[in-house]
């Protein structure tokens, strides 16, 4: 057992009644609560007793657990309460789960992103569960007049064996809720886990399959208006003027007005990214009517000059960020990136004497990889409900990061934070896009202007053309080989528009005596943001494709080659700041080798392998493709994952499968190009998404058995699949694939895509 001090998390243990707002605010709606099972269910209790911010228990033993983090499909709404329930030692079938709304004074880190929810929540949630359990035990000890350390718990039952006394948690809840929060609690031995590690169904599953309102876009209140927005048609453009009369007579249209997202003197934060700080809002009686008006609105746009944005920096300083002027094109992006083949970048890591090794090399292999901008394309377009009246605001919207937008909303509305309530909606996908919540500010400003509740909905075209994309990247890898094909040195030079994808201290840094990493970037007015495994989602594909080609050149099996490098990094690492554990890295390669039966190649099945470390987790993947009817078909994908303890195994596998499908889709098809600043694709008729037919026919996700604390899972299975696919396609077609998306090149091989 581990003892943890509860002091760190003490704010989570404050009683709701002691906080401003009172208990009624805790639950946005009781109806939003979820019952995981229907059999043997305990009914609603007459009274709830709150043991801490996360846990309340009814007099009948029913338990409500609040899931603190926003849910975008990674299933934290099930797995976070599982961690609470484990340490509370309750029966999962008596648990109701509710989505917590945004209460930073009650919950830690209400942020979904960076695959950190479970990793960062692990100890706080365990502590919250164990603390509530300790208070129930203390209440029973007081009630029965026996020593607390003689009381055991199991599945929501307290027992004192010596005296034969037994009670369910509900019987002790009212007393427990009045007791002092213990200073220190014991956490379970991980071998005693009964819930963690045992698959539980999605707590919202029944609601999802029966079409219940769960998303912000489903929200409606009495008197609510509907809003659409119109934004400039291209990056580098801004609003000049619009003709209100072009839509004011139209059916159901109430008002048209410009919206300025930020106050002039506002200092932005990193997550305030928005492409168009001034947009036009159209307000009316129904979604269809405002969308019709959108088409009719006559507006004039003009080229935006270079602008400077004040951005909050470290230590309370602000810095100035320049947004360049101009209408950009994909063709010029490509040529500007290609200039860096000859131009130097900034050296971000150098071990040994790489330049010397390249001079004396018998052979140099150089390959350049690239990938385009990508749109997130969440299935639920950006939208938000807001009700702003006077100096109060209620915002209900899809956001991964309420904390990062609260200050913006407060500044833009001119309403203090304490008068603003952000409620958290289930999101129809996030993938990083909803870490940037300008849509919430927009809806709030529209509601403030009309002083009525409003639901603002982007069209798919608005959503796809509003920016905050995955950047376009390029990376050149060079290897120096001696006359016996021994690897002397490796050099990577990578960059992008407008950021570099390089992680200089990741593998294969640390495994090579002579290594150099150079980084560059090119400014742009095309806005970018986190996209599932930022930067890793490109550099993994480039690096792991290059290692595959290098292994072939050196006459080595691609898995054995990687294992050799990792052995070197483990036994005699080069440099001191390598940010990966070579043993765990090798572990997933060994596991995928075993699970995919790597050593026994089948004829006509073309295999590619790849491995990557990101978000604190290790993943190796093998992709098998076959050519069927002149079409590449992904027959099987095998993944081996080391993410520490797996909380909810089947749901974890589901997310892994999804990441693999997502990666294969983007590798084959994902691309957003620009023509005079305008995205060339604005809907799914031209932006090709992976569909059922292109999905792999089989995916196996294998987890390394582990007693390590959990690490990231939503992102790490995504980056490696790009190279596993490319390496497999090479085996299938005899051609290497350097440029994403692959589909156009496969078509040039006369394959059907």
């Amino acid at each position: 057992m581990t003892k943890v001090n509860t002091k760190l998390d003490r704010r989570s243990f404050l009683k709701v009644s002691a906080l401003a707002g009172g208990g009624m605010m805790l639950s946005f709606s009781w109806l939003a609560g979820c019952k995981p099972t229907v059999e043997e269910e305990l009914g609603l209790p007459k009274e709830w007793f709150e043991l801490n911010s996360y846990i309340k228990i009814g007099e009948n033993g029913a338990v409500t657990l609040y899931s603190p983090n926003p849910e975008f499909g990674s299933n934290v709404k099930t797995s976070m309460p599982m961690i609470l329930a484990e340490e509370l030692d309750t029966d999962w079938k008596n648990v109701w789960v509710e989505q917590a709304d945004f209460y930073p004074e009650r919950f830690d880190r209400q942020f979904t992103g960076g695959s950190q929810g479970i990793r960062m929540g692990w100890t706080p949630l365990r502590t919250a569960g164990a603390t509530a359990r300790a208070m129930l035990v203390a209440a029973a000890a007081q009630n029965w007049n026996v020593p607390a350390n003689e009381i055991t718990t199991s599945a929501g039952i307290l027992e004192h064996k010596a005296s034969g006394k037994k009670a369910n948690y509900g019987e002790m809840a009212s007393l427990a809720a009045t007791l002092e929060v213990p200073e220190e609690v014991e956490l379970k031995d991980i071998n005693d886990f009964k819930i963690i590690g045992h698959s539980k169904k999605n707590v919202d599953g029944q609601k999802i399959v029966s079409g219940k309102p769960l998303f912000a876009i489903d929200h409606k209140v009495e008197g609510m208006k509907y809003a659409a927005i119109v934004h400039p048609p291209a990056f580098g453009m801004r609003l000049k003027s619009f003709d209100k009369s072009s839509v004011m007579g139209m059916s159901g249209i109430q008002d048209v007005f410009p919206v300025n997202v930020f106050k002039d003197d506002y200092v932005q934060n990193f997550f305030d990214t928005t492409t168009f700080p001034e947009i036009i809002a159209i307000v009316g009686n129904s979604t269809w009517e405002v969308m019709q008006a959108k088409k009719n609105l006559v507006a004039e746009w003009e080229k935006a000059p270079e602008t400077k944005i004040a951005m909050a920096g470290f230590g309370g300083n602000s810095m100035e960020v320049t947004v360049p002027a101009g209408l950009e094109n994909s063709s010029s992006h490509k040529s500007r990136m290609a200039e860096f083949l000859k131009k130097p970048g900034t050296v971000v890591r150098k071990d040994g004497d790489p330049e010397g090794m390249f001079k004396k090399a018998a052979k140099v292999i150089e390959r350049t990889y690239s990938a385009p901008f990508l749109a997130h394309n969440t299935m639920e377009p950006m939208n938000c409900f807001a009700d702003v009246k006077g100096d109060r605001a209620v915002i209900y919207g899809p956001t991964q990061a309420p904390e990062f937008i609260m200050g913006t909303i407060s500044s833009s509305l001119g309403i203090p934070r304490e008068n603003i309530q952000i409620n958290l909606a289930r999101m129809g996908g996030g993938f990083g896009r909803r870490a940037y919540s300008h849509h919430m500010v927009e809806a709030a400003l529209i509601s403030q202007k009309i002083q009525a509740p409003v639901k603002m909905v982007y069209s798919r075209e608005d959503d796809m053309s509003a920016g905050v994309y995955r950047p376009t990247y390029s990376a050149t890898y060079r290897a120096a080989l001696d006359e016996n094909n021994n690897l002397l040195a490796l050099h990577v030079k990578a960059g992008g528009i407008p950021e570099s994808p390089l992680h200089a201290n990741r593998f294969p840094a640390g495994a090579l005596d002579h290594y150099m990493a150079e980084s560059w970037d090119i400014p742009s007015n095309i806005t970018i943001g986190a996209f599932r495994a930022p930067r890793s989602n490109f550099i993994a594909g480039a690096e792991q494709s290059f290692l595959d080609e290098l292994a072939e050149e050196m006459g080595k099996d691609p898995i054995d080659f990687r294992l050799e490098l990792l052995k070197r990094a483990e036994t005699d690492p080069v440099g001191s700041n390598n940010d990966y554990d070579p043993k765990r890295y090798a572990g997933v390669l060994q596991l995928v080798k075993e699970k995919s039966n790597w050593s026994q190649a089948q004829s006509n099945v073309h295999r590619g392998v790849s491995a990557y470390f990101c978000h604190n987790s290790y993943v190796a993947e093998v992709v098998d493709t076959v050519i069927k009817d002149n079409k590449p078909v992904v027959e099987s994908v095998y993944a081996a994952v080391d993410c520490g303890i797996v909380v909810n195994p089947d749901a974890a596998a589901n997310m892994g499968e999804g990441a693999i499908v997502d990666g294969i889709g983007n590798a084959f098809f994902g691309e957003l190009a620009f023509n005079n600043g305008a995205p060339t694709k604005t809907n799914f008729d031209t932006y090709r998404m992976i569909r059922q037919k292109e999905s792999p026919k089989k995916i196996e996700v294998h987890f390394v058995e582990s007693t390590e604390n959990p690490t990231g899972l939503g992102e790490p299975l995504f980056p490696p699949v790009f190279a596993a696919l490319a390496n497999s396609l090479y085996k299938a077609t005899g051609k290497r694939y350097y440029e994403q998306p692959f589909a156009p090149q496969l078509e040039m091989e006369n394959l059907r895509m």
């Binding site: 499909g73 169904k201 919202d204 079409g211 219940k212 499968e657 998404m689 992976i690 995916i699």
Partner: protein
Amino acid sequence: MAQFNLNVNGKTQQVDVDPSTPLLWVLRDHLDLVGTKFGCGIAQCGACTIHLNGTAVRSCQLPVSAAEGAQITTIEGLSENGDHPVQQAWMEHDVPQCGYCQAGQIMTAAALLQQNPNPSDEEIENAMNGNICRCGTYLRIKAAVKTASQKL
């Protein structure tokens, strides 16, 4: 504006809307049936799939004027207690991630199985190809359709 009598999930409902209004928005904004989702507005993603006289159609491209007189079924009306074999199979395979596209997937699958109770893998892939799942739950969707076909 014009009045339309719609038969939705076995009930007749009257709405007063512009005749060009897609059924999707009539369902969502006027009849408060929000299970049918808006995804693309151009019949490319399948999130808005409903049944019109038992056939899966994209409600974002169906003007309300064309829906009068037809039997309209939405996800809310697929079964009384959310226990249609397809819905049960979706629960059994724990298909959803974000969940946004799943109503459309389920409606497409239910219509497929109505017409073809024992579809092959290829027939499932063909029938489900119009429904995008951005989370990539395609394998579980296919497995759930197969499970449902065995229960029907």
